[in-house]
């Protein structure tokens, strides 16, 4: 389990786009570096990120080693009614983690 920060605006209007910001604590080891004795450090990155709102896709992203450590992502969402935003990401070991954030339409 890695630490995830999700920022959702407090005031959301129906059918008006709003930005969601996500910060994931992850080293995103690129697989290009070597340790002190010259051995390559194995790649360990988050390679897939999916954001859904009540089951409907918002953003589906593939990440490559060029994404910086502690990946930050901001993207736009549009909601008709209050719901749950689910952010799922998969790392190189196949570990899947899902974080939920409530969307409250006023």
């Amino acid at each position: 389990m890695v630490r995830v920060l999700i920022n959702v605006p407090k005031q959301i209007r129906a059918n008006e786009p709003f930005d969601v910001k996500v910060l994931i604590s992850h080293p995103m080891e690129s697989g290009q570096r070597r340790d002190q004795v010259g051995q390559p450090i194995p790649r360990d990155i988050i390679n897939h990120f999916i954001a859904t709102l009540d089951g409907e896709t918002v953003l589906d992203a593939d990440f490559f080693p060029a994404i910086a450590a502690n990946p930050f992502l901001s993207f736009s969402v549009v909601a008709e009614k209050s719901g749950t935003l689910a952010l799922t990401f998969v790392d190189d070991h196949g570990v899947t983690q899902t974080e939920l954030a409530a969307i409250t339409v006023t």
Partner: protein, 140 residues
Amino acid sequence: MTLPRRRFVLITTCAAVSPASAKPAEVATLIQALVGDASLKDGLIHLDLPVMVENGNAVAMSVSVADPPSPVEAIHVFAEGNPLPRVAVFRFGPRSGAPRVGTRIRLATSQTVIAIAKLRDGSCWRDSVDLLVTLAACIE
């Protein structure tokens, strides 16, 4: 001009550690495979990156498509000078508010970064940024 010792160590370590960087031709092949027979035009998509980068380990990047004539299916980002040219692929779903994404990327050297937007009508749009990187991302 004498090279400061630290800068020399930095450059040689970078050269020793990083494998051959991706070639512009390699990126062109990837883009060709992505675009296929469709037309590739400049414009519509906007790639926002600083022209001068002090630290290549985390470079703020944002990419957006303003008023697309048909929904944006995906945005692909390539870095010509990185050891692996692919940076990210963003696909937009029905709940996406606008085709725009912001993130932070690694850049191994001064290079050209290219963003391609693929629209549902099949058209592809391109934007690129030439940038200078002072501290490369290949070492911590």
